[in-house]
């Protein structure tokens, strides 16, 4: 009976919308779920820099290059906010990063798709960041304080990301025939993977919906996905571009867009590591870590030396 007590107090807090802070008692499963989810989120920000970084040197103008650099730098910052939030749950940064490099921890599958043309940078901003924002806005109200606070900061910065992506596509959509085609092609390739970002159907789950009860999550996958489709279908009209789904149609009764079925086989394949770029992405992260070792060592040695000097003085 006594063991039940803290769990009850915890749930009362959650019901009352009281945020949980790092030193508060929390169920072990709550902690584990958060560690997994927040670190995956952090890894996604970091790995997400790769497809975009691919175009920094080839951005069509200096303005676009500066914007893209700023955006990629933001992603690094977002990764850091989230790694810090993960650490408050009692895992070390190094452990978290090791889990990414060993393949144990996952990141958003969307980043296992290649960025083949400049228009992809626009499509990533519009679709991928657009999907991410819906999730992240919801997470500003998540029950774990450090995660919620990181999300508030991220959301403030993220709206620039989506707008710059849309603007890239807008310029292309008003350009030459080739530019229009490039724009449409990028949308065609990124549309379905973006829908997959929201994860499996709600009906896939036959078990208790613990993350909802704990208010880690506030909306279901299908709810968020529907919000996304409704938003993007309208914005696509402004671009004068189409979305590659013949089943996409406004449903008057539901007051939502109907849309076609996702290729779940592809989804699970990419999750399991067989996407177009899984190996390349992880390899790039490992390489960055290994090749950065001398920098980390040097900084540590320098700090040590300075400390000794200060002590001597």
């Amino acid at each position: 009976m006594l063991q039940q007590e803290p769990e009850k107090i915890f749930q009362v807090k959650i019901e009352g919308e009281v945020k949980i802070e790092p030193k508060d008692w929390m169920p072990e499963k709550y902690r584990q779920t958060l560690i997994r989810q927040i670190s995956q989120h952090a890894h996604s920000e970091i790995v997400g820099m790769l497809p975009e970084g691919n175009w920094i040197t080839r951005a069509p103008t200096l303005k676009r290059k500066a914007i893209l650099l700023a955006k990629v730098q933001d992603e690094a910052g977002h990764g850091l906010y989230l790694y810090s939030a993960t650490e408050t749950l009692g895992v070390t940064r190094e452990q978290t990063i090791n889990d990414l490099h060993s393949g144990k921890a996952k990141y958003s599958s969307i980043f296992n798709y290649p960025s083949l043309a400049w228009a992809d940078i626009g499509a990533i901003g519009w679709l991928v960041d657009g999907a991410a924002i819906l999730n992240q806005v919801m997470l500003t109200r998540t029950s774990y304080g450090p995660y919620a606070r990181a999300m508030v900061r991220i959301c403030k910065e993220e709206s620039f990301h989506q707008r710059q992506g849309f603007e890239i596509l807008l310029v292309l959509s008003r350009g030459t025939k080739e530019q229009k085609e490039m724009c449409q092609d990028a949308i065609n390739r990124w549309w379905w993977p973006s829908l997959m970002m929201f994860g499996p159907h709600d009906s896939e789950s036959t078990h208790s919906d613990q993350s909802m009860k704990w208010k880690i999550k506030r909306k279901s996958n299908d709810e968020l996905r529907q919000n996304f489709v409704d938003m993007i279908a309208e914005q696509a009209k402004v671009l004068g571009m189409s979305l590659p789904d013949p089943a996409l149609k406004w449903n008057k009764e539901r007051k939502h867009y109907d849309f076609g079925e996702i290729n779940w086989e592809e989804f699970w394949n990419v999750v399991k590591g067989n996407g177009p770029c899984n190996k390349e992405r992880l390899e790039a992260r490992r390489q960055a870590w290994d090749e950065g070792k001398w920098v980390r060592d040097a900084a540590e040695a320098y700090a040590e030396k300075k400390k000794l000097k200060q002590q001597a003085a």
Binding site: E21, K23, W25, E28, K29, Q32, T33, I35, R36, Q37, Q40, H41, S44, Q73, G77, L80, Y81, S84, E87, L89, G90, V91, T92, R93, E94, Q95, N98, D99, K104, A105, K106, S108, S109, N135, R153, E157, F198, G199, P200, E204, S205, T206, H207, S208, D209, Q210, S211, K217, N221, L224, W268, V271, K272, G273, R296, A299, E300, Y302, A303, K307
Partner: protein, 131 residues
């Protein structure tokens, strides 16, 4: 209980290669949050930023850095990319001492029954306009 978390939310794909099934992959993270790393992380620093002259420094978050100088420079890059600050404090996290949330009830109890500390406790005639 094992299947409690089978649902994969957006941004929360289960670990392991099994796709939807996490139950066969017990997490290696210890329940007490003990340090499993090789302890080669740089120290952790808490970052406080004054957003403009006249305001307090406010806790922004934390980051790792080899020394204070690097912590300040990293804090600039991480927390002030959009002119959010004009002054930065960094404190190594291990020097922060905190009250215990489990004691909160007793700890703050003395303040609870002293409503007379609030101006609203005192009923004054309407003639006294602003006091």
């Amino acid at each position: 209980m094992n299947n409690f978390f089978r649902k994969s939310y957006y941004g929360d794909i289960p670990e392991g290669k099994g796709g939807g099934d996490q139950s066969k992959q017990p997490s290696k993270v210890p329940s007490n949050g003990a340090d499993l790393g090789e302890a080669s992380d740089w120290p952790l620093w808490e970052i406080f930023i004054r957003s403009k002259q006249g305001l307090d420094h406010k806790h922004m978050g934390s980051l790792h850095a080899a020394d204070a100088q690097m912590a300040i420079e990293n804090a600039r890059d991480v927390y002030t990319r959009r002119m959010e600050g004009i002054s930065i404090w960094v404190v190594e996290s291990k020097y922060i001492h905190a009250s215990n949330p489990d004691d909160a009830e007793n700890f703050y109890e003395p303040a609870e029954d002293k409503v007379y500390r609030h101006p609203t406790f005192y009923d004054l005639p309407d003639e006294v306009k602003h006091m």
